[in-house]
Symmetry: C3
Subunit: 136 residues, 3 copies
Amino acid sequence: MIRYVNVKSRMRNEFIDITEKVQEVITEEGMKSGVCYIYVPHTTAGITINEGADTSVQRDIQTALTKLVPFEADYSHREGNADAHIKSTLVGVSQSVFIDEGNLLLGTWQALYFCEFDGPRHRRVAIQLIKAVTPS
Amino acid sequence: MIRYVNVKSRMRNEFIDITEKVQEVITEEGMKSGVCYIYVPHTTAGITINEGADTSVQRDIQTALTKLVPFEADYSHREGNADAHIKSTLVGVSQSVFIDEGNLLLGTWQALYFCEFDGPRHRRVAIQLIKAVTPS
Amino acid sequence: MIRYVNVKSRMRNEFIDITEKVQEVITEEGMKSGVCYIYVPHTTAGITINEGADTSVQRDIQTALTKLVPFEADYSHREGNADAHIKSTLVGVSQSVFIDEGNLLLGTWQALYFCEFDGPRHRRVAIQLIKAVTPS
């Protein structure tokens, strides 16, 4: 019931469009309507929904996040990735998107982005689909 | 099954209380208990849950967001609304609220706010209700 | 159907690990697979999922949030806790975590943290479980 999508990041900070991979899971499961949950089981990554058409947007988001949470600061965590943990909390690790007629119901400009904050790494994203149940 | 609530913003940055409109959908659908999903299909807006009693709180949140993510900076996105995209990722585009005895189960001071970051615009918010199913 | 977990904070800013308490609810309800929703019905608190092994991470997140949103600034809200409201919107008040074979499906390093931003206070966290329903 829980499906996984593999993601491979190539940079320390990178947004990876996983919209198609998530849609494939919905299609394979044959889910027609309900809610699609996307969950990132990592503490130095996140998931966001934002513009997929112009890739400059994801760069601006990454730059803004790094400006707010610099790589180096007076952190107590000694593994050199405290910034990635903080970004993960700001962006969040889960999203809920609707499924309508077998498709992810995203807005015209929306895409689902896995947000890598401590790459390069092999990551995975968990997906669960819940069917809509009408009131009886 | 998916319902829409229309929202009309009048300013570039504006929080609009949509609690009553969401409650109307729950009442019309006759949903007694479960989860109410609120989804914003836009990339320059968001949704948050925060104090509804004192409107100064929403102004403080807007001011703080604009301080963190200024309207003008060295953005690569050329449409003049990179700040709005970044704020959308920080605030998020979906919320899940419980339904109990036919009502949104919000805390005493909580209200549901549509967050406009690139208005004025006509917007819409998607709503889906999932009925609670007890373990069998 | 909606369960509550009580949380008692001892400091103004404090992260409290509620993973075990949430797991207890799942075990008591006998839920084997589905989604566990955690909802904070407060406007000056939040919930995040982040590293549970090294407590320095939660301190770094708190410090970073306070740097981004200082306790004192030119806030219009007169109750002295505008910062806590803003942090609540940045971190969020709800999370969805998967349940697999009766257990919260967290990543290896993940823990569920109640985020107090205006303590010390007695707080509560609402929990609802939705069973996975396979497509028919």
